[in-house]
Amino acid sequence: MTKLHIGTLALASALALPAQAQTEVQWWHSMGGALGEWVNDLAKDFNASQKDYKIVPTFKGSYDESMTAAIAAFRAGNAPHILQVFEVGTATMMASKNAIVPVGEVMKKAGVTFDPNAYVPAVAGYYTAPNGQMLSFPFNSSTTVFHYNKDAFKAAGLDPEKPPTTWPEVALAAAKLKTSGHKCPFTTSWVSWTQLESFSAWHNTEFATKGNGMRGIDARLTFNSPLHVRHIENLANMAKNGLFVYKGRGNAADATFVSGECAMVTGSSALYGNVKRNAKFASGIGALPYYPDVPGTPQNTVIGGASLWVMSGKKEADYKGVAQFFAFLSRPEEAAKSHQRTGYLPLTKASYELTEKSNFYKHNPGTDVSVTQMIRKTTDKSRGIRLGNFVQIRTINDEELEQVWAGKKSAKEALDTAVKRGNEQLERFEKANKS
C-alpha cells in the first residue's frame, strides 16, 4: 500500500510541475503571407529566449475582421491578451477605456524598463494619449511611398534612377509611359490614406481641425480646402486622359503593380516585401510626390499599419508576460531585424541607427525612403490623424472619389459631400463618447 502511495505521489508531482511552468499569452493578429511568417518567427524566438511565458499568435483575418472578432470575444469574456488593431481603429480603442490597459501602465506594473523616448517620435506619438502615456505598442508602422517599375521607365525613355518627385513630374512621366504603350501608367492603393490624409501632412496642411483630431474629439474635417480640390482635380484629369487608372479600394491596386500591369503606384512602404519576393522586374522606391509651390512642403507623411493593444480583464501574471514580450520586440537587434525584413518602419531610434551602420540602406536602395519621410520633426498639423469612426470616413472618401474618377462628380462637389458625410460620423462619435 505504501509503495502505491509513494509511487502515485511521485507521478502526480512529476505531472504537476510542467503544468505550472508556462503562462500562455494569446495574440490575435492580421498578418498573412510573408508577414504571417514574420509574426510566427517573432513568437518562436521569444518563446525560445525564456521559459515562463508562451506567446501564441493566431491569425484572425483582415484588420477589421480581427477587431470584430475581438469585440465579440470581449463581450463573451474571452478576449485575447494582445490585439493588433489598425491605425484607423485607434480612436475607437482609445474611447473604450474599460476594455484596454495602456501599454505604459502594463510595463510599469510589470516592473519592466520602458523609455517612451526610445521609440521613433512620429510613430510613438500617434499611439500616445494627450497626457503623454503610451496607450498601445507601435508594432508595425508603414507610411506612404511611391513605388515605380524601373524596367518600364527604361522602356519609356525615362531615367530609372530618377523617380518623379513632384506631381507635375508624375503626370509627365505617366504621359511618356502611355505613349510608350503602357496601359496603366499610374495607380494608387488606399486612396484616402495616400491622396488625402498623407497628402495633407506632407504639405503641412490640416486634414481635420484640432490638429487632425489629436487634441480633441470635437474635430471636424477640412480636406475640401483649395489645395485638396486642386490635387483631386489633377488626378481626375489624369484619369480622363488614361494616365491614372483606378484599380479598386483598399490595397487591391498593389497586385497590379507587382504583376507589372501598372508602372507607378503610391501605396504602403510595406509593399516592399511582396515586391522583393514576387516582382519580375527591377523596382524602385521614391518619396511621396508633392506640389513644389506649396510652402512648408515636404513635411512628413502619416503612418499606416497597426499597433498592439492590451485587453483588460486578464490575470496579473499574464500581463508580466505581455510586458516582457514588448521589451523583447523593442531590443535594437530585434527591431532592426524586423524592419529590414518587412519594410515596416524601425521601431526605435537605436534600431534605425543599427540598420544604418550595417549599410543595409546602401545595399537596398529605397528602403530608407519611408524612414527619412517619418523621422523629420513633426508640426502640429502633421503629427498624425486620429478621428473617431475613421473606418466609415475612409469608406465615404472611397465612395465619393470613385464618383470623381468615373466622371460623375467634380472634385469640389465630391470633397464637399465627403466632408459633410464625414462630419456626421464625427458628430455621432462625439455624442456616443462624451465622457
Binding site: D64, M67, T68, I71, F74, R75, T92, A95, S96, K97, N98, A99, Y246, K247, G248, R249, T256, S259, E261, N389, V391, Q392, T395, D398, E399, E400, E402, Q403, W405, A406, K408, R421, R428, A432, N433, S435
Partner: protein, 294 residues
C-alpha cells in the same frame, strides 16, 4: 384539394413540431428580438459602458440619411432583376431538360451543381472572370470593343453581381421547376396535342397554370434570397461600389454592424429589412396566391 391529418391526442401534434419550433425560436425569434432590443439602444463597440436608451433615434438617423434611401432603390432594382432572371432562365432550362431523353442525368447534375457553391465563392468566381488584370471575360470583352470596368461603371458593377447571384439561384429554381414539370400528367398534354394546340399554347394554358404552386413558392424564396443571402456576393465583388451604387440594404446592415461597429444603427436597419420582407411575403400570399391553382 386540401390534405388534413386528424390527431386524436392533444399533445402529440405539439410534440411532433417541437423540434422545428425550437429551431425557429432559437435561430429566428431570439436574434430578431435581440435586434429589436438593440435598435433602440446606442452602445459603444466593446459594451463596457452601459447602453443608452435612445428610443427611435437610430431610425430617425437612418431615414434622414440620403444614402440609405438611395439604397432602397438599389435593392429594389437588384431584387427584381435577380428574381425575374432567376425564375425565367430556370424555367426555360427545366422545360428543355424535361424533353431530353438521352443523357438527361448528366444535364441535370451539371445544372444543379452551382447550388452547392457558397455565395462568397460564387462572387469571387465571377470577380476572377471579370476583374482585370486576370479576368478572361473582361479581356475578351475589351478585345470586342466593350470597355468593361466594374470598378467605375455602376451598370457594369450591377450586372456583375446580378450575374453571380442569378447563377447560383438558377440551380435551386431548376430543381423545383423540373420536379413540378414532371408531376404534370402526360394525359393532359397529349389531349391538348390531339386537339391541335401548339407547343406555345400548350405551355401557357396547361403547363404554366399547373406549375403555379411551384412558381409561387419559388417567387417568395427568390425574393428572400435576393434581399438577404446575396450580401456575401456584394461584399466579395464590389463592396457596395462604385460609390454606393451596389450597396444593397443587407450589405449596409453588415457594414454598419461589423465594420463600423455601430450596433444600434445596424440593428435598426435589420428591423426595417425584416419588416420589408414580411410585408412583401404577406402581399405575395394575399394577392398572388389567389391566382395559384392547387
Amino acid at each position: 384539394m386540401e390534405k388534413r391529418v386528424l390527431f386524436r391526442s392533444a399533445w402529440l401534434p405539439w410534440l411532433l413540431i417541437a423540434p422545428q419550433m425550437t429551431i425557429i425560436l432559437v435561430f429566428f425569434f431570439w436574434p430578431a428580438g435581440q435586434a429589436l432590443h438593440q435598435s433602440v439602444l446606442q452602445q459603444d463597440a466593446f459594451g463596457t459602458t452601459a447602453a443608452v436608451f435612445v428610443g427611435l433615434e437610430n431610425f430617425r438617423q437612418l431615414f434622414s440619411d440620403p444614402t440609405y434611401l438611395a439604397s432602397f432603390k438599389t435593392t429594389a432594382v437588384f431584387s427584381l432583376l435577380v428574381a425575374s432572371l432567376g425564375l425565367l432562365i430556370a424555367l426555360l432550362l427545366a422545360v428543355m431538360a424535361n424533353r431530353v431523353v438521352r443523357g438527361a442525368p448528366v444535364y441535370k447534375t451539371l445544372l444543379i451543381w452551382p447550388y452547392a457553391v457558397a455565395p462568397v465563392v460564387a462572387g469571387v468566381l465571377w470577380l476572377m472572370m471579370f476583374a482585370s488584370p486576370y479576368g478572361v471575360v473582361a479581356y475578351a470583352l475589351q478585345q470586342m470593343g466593350l470597355p468593361w470596368d466594374h470598378l467605375l461603371n455602376a451598370n457594369h458593377a450591377m450586372a456583375l453581381i446580378v450575374m453571380a447571384a442569378v447563377w447560383k439561384q438558377i440551380s435551386y429554381n431548376f430543381l423545383f421547376f423540373l420536379a413540378g414539370l414532371q408531376s404534370i400528367p402526360h394525359s393532359m398534354i397529349e389531349a391538348a396535342t390531339i386537339d391541335g394546340a401548339t407547343p406555345w399554347k400548350r405551355f401557357w394554358s396547361i403547363v404554366f397554370p399547373l406549375l403555379s404552386p411551384t412558381t409561387f413558392f419559388l417567387l417568395v424564396i427568390n425574393v428572400v434570397y435576393a434581399f438577404f443571402d446575396t450580401f456575401a456576393i456584394v461584399d466579395a465583388v464590389t463592396h457596395g461600389g462604385p460609390g454606393k451604387e451596389t450597396a444593397i440594404l443587407v450589405y449596409k446592415v453588415y457594414y454598419d454592424g461589423f465594420k463600423a461597429q455601430d450596433m444600434g444603427g445596424s440593428a435598426a436597419q435589420s428591423v426595417v429589412l425584416m419588416i420589408i420582407v414580411i410585408a412583401l411575403t404577406v402581399v405575395q400570399f394575399k394577392y398572388v396566391e389567389k391566382k395559384v391553382n392547387y
